[in-house]
Structure formats: structure tokens, C-alpha cells
Amino acid sequence: MKITLKVWRQAEGEAQGSMETYQLDSVAEEMSFLEMLDMLNEQLTAQDIEPVAFDSDCREGICGMCGIVINGSPHGRYESPVPTTTCQLHMRNFHDGDVVEIEPWRAGAFPVIKDLVVDRTALDRIVAAGGYISVNTGSAPEAHSTPAPKLQADRAFDAATCIGCGACVAACPNGSGMLFTSAKVTHLANLPQGQPERRRRVKAMIAAHDANGFGGCQNIGECASVCPKQIPLESIAQLNRDLIASLFRADGKSA
């Protein structure tokens, strides 16, 4: 099939870019979206045009490296019948003659590096602020010394499936990273091992979230809707509960 692509091109170090139009004539429906972009890049290389820069790594929907806004939705969520990452979106969801618009994640916290590639290290900084359980290697107790109630462990797991792709931020009208942050908070808050640091963790992570240029949450719900791993919106409510409750405790006052 023939596909017309409108791709955001932005040179490295430039503050602005623009949409460029390219034509692909023999796109197969079995191809993944990123294979279609590979094809575009082969074509551009042959024409001595610099290929379109885009991130991808595992191409099986788990590493979180890929992320493109396709026809206005992150990962092309609304082009696909099921929640998906960009790499797992396939061309059979498109039709001959379609015009497909491709843009990078746009958020204050994710500056564009080049074309469709953005800098998402702000997400790492949120985790670094406290998104962990402090246990040095070698000091762990026997695994069965602390049973974890299954229902809570399952909730923890649901939140822990976050792949850190940043689609939630890209979809948010406020550029908020609250779904990402709350996924980690919810993961660790629902495990017995996460309890000792629970109050300080949520305070530190929110502080880092705000300091890294993310906006506040308005409970609109775009984030959860585009999330490839279906992190539920109630994670944010869990974060809010934990944070508000922790404000009445001294954790984090001294450091």
C-alpha cells in the first residue's frame, strides 16, 4: 500500500522543526510501524537525505525505548485496537493512501534531541530520588521470611509493569509525569518490603517530579488511556493518599 508520511524533522540543537512529507509506495501490512520507518530511512539514504532519527531497541514492547506520537496519539494508541507500544503497532491498522502524521513526544521535561528522539532522563531522576528499596547486596533476609499478601502483591505487579516509555507524559495536556511516578509509588507501597521507606519515598519522588519540569495532574485520564501497559489511573490516587498522609509524619524532614 501507499502511505504518505508527514514527519517532524528537527535538527540537533535547533529549537524548532517542521513537518516534512515523504511518500512510501510499497508498504506491506505485515510490517511493524518501525519497520515502515526503517524502509523510509533506506529510501532516504538512497536519495542522500539524512534518515529520520527515532529511538527503538527491543521491538517487542517491553524496553520502553520507542515512542512516537502517531496521528496525534502516543504510540498510535488510537490507530490500534489494543494498547500498544510504537514497535508493536502494525501497518495492517492503516489503509492504502493514508496520510500518517508522526511527531516526537512533546513535553517540557522531554527536550527534543533530534527529529523524533527526545531526552527522557528526567524519568530516571525521579526514580533516583527514591524509587527503590534500600537494601545492599548481601544483606537480604531469606525470601520466605516475609510473606506478601497475594492481592496486594498483584496490585504491586500491575504497577510494576510500567516500562518508563513516557507516553503518559506525552499524552498529558499538562505534561505531567504523575502516572509514571505513581506507578513506582504504588508498586513499592503495596509490598511489605516497601513499608519502611514509604513516606519518605513518596515525598522525595514528588519533589523530584516537580523539580524536573513536569506539570501537575488534573485527573483527566489521557495518560492511562494511552499507556501500553495499562497502568491504572487509580495509581495516581494511591500516590495522593500516600503523600497527604505522609505530610503529617516527620519522614524526610532531616534530609
Binding site: 508527514k6 496519539s73 517540557g108 499524552a171 514528588i206 495532574c217 489511573l233 490516587a237 505530610l247 524532614k253
Partner: protein, 235 residues
């Protein structure tokens, strides 16, 4: 104070989540006030005496003799004012954070499926609300604008009847109430979620249903009296 010297606790106290919580609490207080206000307005259907007595009672007698006569209304106004100021202050700060969060470049194409119109007009809606509120106070509280009666503050019932016998005042209030209703629609759900009540998919449905209910109640409850006055169904 430079932000680097703040403790984690202090930073958390200044966070967007706390500002949202402040907005949630103050917003819910304001919704409670609206419900009460709406309930009072409905007394217009009973008659001038009931309406004026109720207004007088609010001003002079509520909580008396615990409080001296006339004090309650000022405490009440002070609380509302504080709520409003905090609500607006947090909204402005969060709006600025949001502008930063969105970044400078806009999407060429947006496709958003979850957002409701009411969720997307909270801020502009809020500004509209504020302007209409000023108009409302200038009319019924200070007596600066007096459509339908001649000058100053008169009996509440007469002001009500006078004002809403003008079609354009009713029209302004229809706009006012539609905006209120939308603001409450998203605000109600958002406030409870911010305070942590969205504990699961079911809670989300319940909160949203309640939000629609509260918004519809306010819309109908507030618009019934002016419309009735305009069409001469109250006398």
C-alpha cells in the same frame, strides 16, 4: 529561600500534589456553599416573606446566640474568601507549571479521547466564573449594578425579581451556571481523586456519576428560579 536548602518534607509540602489537595478541599467547600446557596434560592417559590426571612436569618441569626448577631455572615464570607483566594492562587501556580510541563512546541495534531470538555476548560472556565462572580456580587451584595430596580440594596426578594425580569440578566446567569456546572463536573471528580478516593475502576464510575449528579443538580436548582421569574411564574 533557595529550593536547594529545602528538606524533602518541605519540598513535598510545596509540591503540585499539595496544591491540588488545597484546590480540592477549597473547591469542595465552595461546592458545598453552592448547594446551600441553591437551596436558599429555591425559597423564592414559597414567597417574599420566606425568602427575605431566610436571607435575614443567614445574615443575622445563624449560630446566634453562640455568636453575637451579625457575626456569622462575616466569618462565613471570610472563609469563602480564603477558600477562593487559595483556590485561585493554587490554580495560577499549577497553570504556570502546566505551561512549563507542556513545553514550548505544540503538537501539530492531537487526538485525545479521554478528556472531557469540562476537564479542558477548567482554567478558562475558572476565569469566566471569577468575572461572573464579580458581576454577581456587584449586583446582589454591594448593589453597584442594579438592573430592574433603582439603586442600592433593597429587599433580597425584590432584587431577585427585578434582576431576573431582564432577559439579558437571565442569559448571563445561564452562561454563569453552565460554566459552574462544567467546572463542578470535573472539579468534583478531580477533587475526590486528588484526595485519594479513586481506589479503583468502580470508584471512578461512582465518583463520575456523583459529579454529573452534583453538576446537574446545581444547574437545574440555580436556573429554575431565574427562568421562572423571567416567564412570570413567580409572583
Amino acid at each position: 529561600m533557595a529550593s536547594t536548602t529545602l528538606s524533602v518534607h518541605q519540598k513535598a509540602l510545596r509540591s503540585t500534589v499539595v496544591k491540588k489537595a488545597v484546590m480540592a478541599v477549597t473547591g469542595l467547600v465552595l461546592i458545598a456553599f453552592l448547594l446551600m446557596h441553591m437551596f436558599g434560592n429555591l425559597k423564592i417559590f414559597i414567597g417574599p416573606e420566606a425568602y427575605n426571612d431566610y436571607a435575614e436569618f443567614l445574615k443575622q441569626d445563624l449560630l446566634a446566640p453562640i455568636l453575637p448577631h451579625g457575626w456569622f455572615i462575616w466569618i462565613f464570607r471570610a472563609v469563602l474568601l480564603v477558600c477562593l483566594v487559595l483556590h485561585v492562587y493554587c490554580a495560577i501556580v499549577l497553570w504556570l507549571a502546566s505551561v512549563e510541563g507542556r513545553g514550548k512546541t505544540k503538537y501539530v495534531r492531537k487526538n485525545r479521547k479521554e478528556q472531557t470538555i469540562s476537564s479542558r476548560v477548567m482554567r478558562w472556565g475558572g476565569i469566566t466564573l471569577f468575572l461572573l462572580l464579580v458581576f454577581h456580587i456587584m449586583m446582589f451584595t454591594t448593589g453597584t449594578i442594579t438592573p430592574g430596580w433603582s439603586g442600592g440594596l433593597i429587599e433580597p426578594y425584590d432584587m431577585f425579581m427585578g434582576a431576573f425580569s431582564n432577559w439579558w440578566v437571565v442569559l448571563i446567569y445561564v452562561v454563569f451556571m453552565v460554566v459552574v456546572c462544567m467546572h463542578v463536573r470535573h472539579g468534583f471528580w478531580s477533587a475526590f481523586t486528588t484526595l485519594g478516593a479513586n481506589v479503583g475502576a468502580q470508584a471512578r464510575v461512582v465518583l463520575n456519576v456523583l459529579a454529573y449528579f452534583a453538576a446537574a443538580l446545581l444547574l437545574v436548582g440555580f436556573l429554575l428560579p431565574p427562568v421562572a421569574v423571567l416567564f412570570g411564574m413567580v409572583n
